[in-house]
């Protein structure tokens, strides 16, 4: 076997390997087919060189025809085996692609449905927080809660203003009453003055009665009685004054108590209102943040969905790869059939009877059968060398 033939064989094997690698790695349709054509050409050229009786052998070598034929048969057998490998590889490429594409598709569908579930969950969350949407009536929202607390606080403030108003009104009445008491004390003092004057008059009367001697004895008794009456009047007057003083003291104590009721420190209410306003502002901030966050998530979701759509579209490459693998298989089957013909041609050289037209018909039929393939094997040009 010549060195050139060996290199041709190596080149053929290398080109087939390249073709397989291209099919697996590249999605350039035209380039793949070109590589396949290159392989076919290389294979046929190798086979034809193998089938031709080497000139050097004819003239210089003394090897017998049968040895050549057996060598050719061996070469044909190797190529046939390689073709079978390529065929099997084509099948496994197709299977692998189909299986993985199915898995990828179902993964992407899962991703889509999860993403849309996520979207729904976010929407539900937002409607729950904002108190909008279905079934929101009667549910407590953060804003509702805050405004309810505000209303209660307002009622509370209103209540103690009312209490203060009534208390101050009561205090005014108490002060009026105290004034009445003071005028009563003036009256009591006046009564006391009258009683004292009466006492003095009675004393004068008693003195005048004593001066009158026996004739004034009766009058002295009357004067004495008048003095006694004025004293008991003073005594009663004093009791009334004491009671009135007590009443005044009691009323002053009541005034103090009412005053305590009226005087509430407003700082607590101011602080409470301040806290509430702060909380309301905070809540508004939280709502704003939630809304922004949800909008972001929705945007990301939409992006994810768009990406998934793109990925699903890209998965269509799988069909192309499958079709290409099938074309390779068809081509390889064609090559195998040609190898069969070559083998028969080879063997026929040993027998005296050569039925070349029958073999040519077989070869033609192989090309007709392979005509569905995109690769036009008949134009490879190697058939002219053979026939």
């Amino acid at each position: 076997m010549s060195e050139r033939y060996k290199y041709a064989c190596l080149f053929t094997v290398f080109s087939w390997l390249l073709s397989i690698a291209m099919l697996l790695l590249s999605d350039n349709h035209t380039l793949n087919i070109a590589t396949l054509v290159l392989c076919a050409v290389a294979s046929c050229s190798v086979l034809l060189r193998g089938a031709q009786p080497p000139e050097a052998a004819d003239s210089n070598d003394s090897s017998s025809l049968s040895e050549r034929v057996s060598l050719h048969q061996q070469a044909i057998g190797h190529v046939d085996e390689l073709c079978s490998h390529v065929d099997l590889n084509g099948v496994s490429i197709r299977t692998a692609v189909e299986t993985n594409v199915t898995n990828l598709s179902s993964s992407f569908q899962g991703l889509m449905s999860k993403s849309s579930e996520q979207n729904d969950a976010m929407k539900q969350l937002v409607s729950r927080i904002s108190g909008q949407g279905e079934g929101a009536e009667g549910r407590v929202t953060l804003e509702g809660f805050a405004s309810e607390v505000g209303r209660i606080l307002d009622d509370y403030v209103k209540l103690f203003i009312d209490v203060s108003d009534k208390s101050i009104s009561a205090v005014h009445n108490i002060q009026d009453m105290t004034e009445q008491f003071d005028s009563m004390f003036a009256l009591i003092s006046e009564i006391r003055g009258i009683a004292d004057q009466t006492n003095l008059l009675a004393l004068n009367a008693a003195i005048e009665a004593a001066r009158a001697g026996e004739a004034g004895r009766g009058f002295a008794v009357v004067a004495d009685e008048v003095r006694k009456l004025s004293k008991s009047s003073n005594n009663l007057n004093e009791q009334i004054r004491a009671r009135a003083e007590q009443s005044k003291a009691t009323i002053t104590r009541v005034e103090k108590v009412v005053g305590e009721i009226a005087s509430l420190d407003m700082t607590i209410a101011i602080d409470a209102r301040g806290h509430l306003d702060g909380m309301l502002a905070e809540l508004e901030g939280v709502n704003q943040d939630v809304t922004t966050g949800v909008e972001k998530v929705a945007a990301v979701n939409a992006q994810v969905q768009a990406d998934v759509y793109q990925a699903v579209t890209a998965l269509q490459f799988a069909d192309i790869v499958g079709q290409d693998a099938e074309k390779i298989r068809l081509s390889v089957q064609g090559i195998k059939a040609i190898l069969g013909v070559l083998s028969e041609v080879n063997v026929s050289e040993l027998s005296p009877r050569h039925d070349w037209p029958a073999l040519k018909n077989t070869l033609d039929s192989i090309f007709d059968g392979n005509s569905t393939s995109d690769i036009d094997v008949s134009t490879s040009g190697t058939d002219d060398e053979l026939f």
Partner: protein, 101 residues
């Protein structure tokens, strides 16, 4: 006397409050606005410029003053309120009952 009152014109009457306006002022305050009553229409100006503390009884006093003058056709303006005092008036919705400057 922490509360000073003065007649500005025939109708206008000015009451200037002390540093605190609380229960201790009840009698003085009442005297200040009742003593202005001469049967005519009155425009009261209550000056809070010195006041830095007041409790709820102040609100009660003001409401009682308003009730006293309600049927006598008077206006009551609260002026020079500091932020704290203004806040109390705002929380108690007094800004709807009185003119607060």
């Amino acid at each position: 006397m922490t509360i000073k009152s003065r007649k500005v014109t025939d109708s206008e009457y000015e009451i200037t409050l002390g540093e605190t306006f609380d229960f201790n002022c009840v009698e003085e305050f009442r005297t200040a606005y009742e003593s202005a009553d001469d049967g005519g229409k009155k425009d009261f100006v209550i000056d809070f410029r010195a006041t830095h503390y007041m409790d709820s009884s102040a609100l009660g006093m003001l409401i009682n003053m308003q009730k006293y003058w309600q049927e006598r056709n008077a206006t009551i303006r609260l002026i020079n309120t500091n932020p704290q005092v203004k806040k109390i008036f705002s929380i108690s919705r007094f800004d709807k009952k009185f003119t607060i400057v």
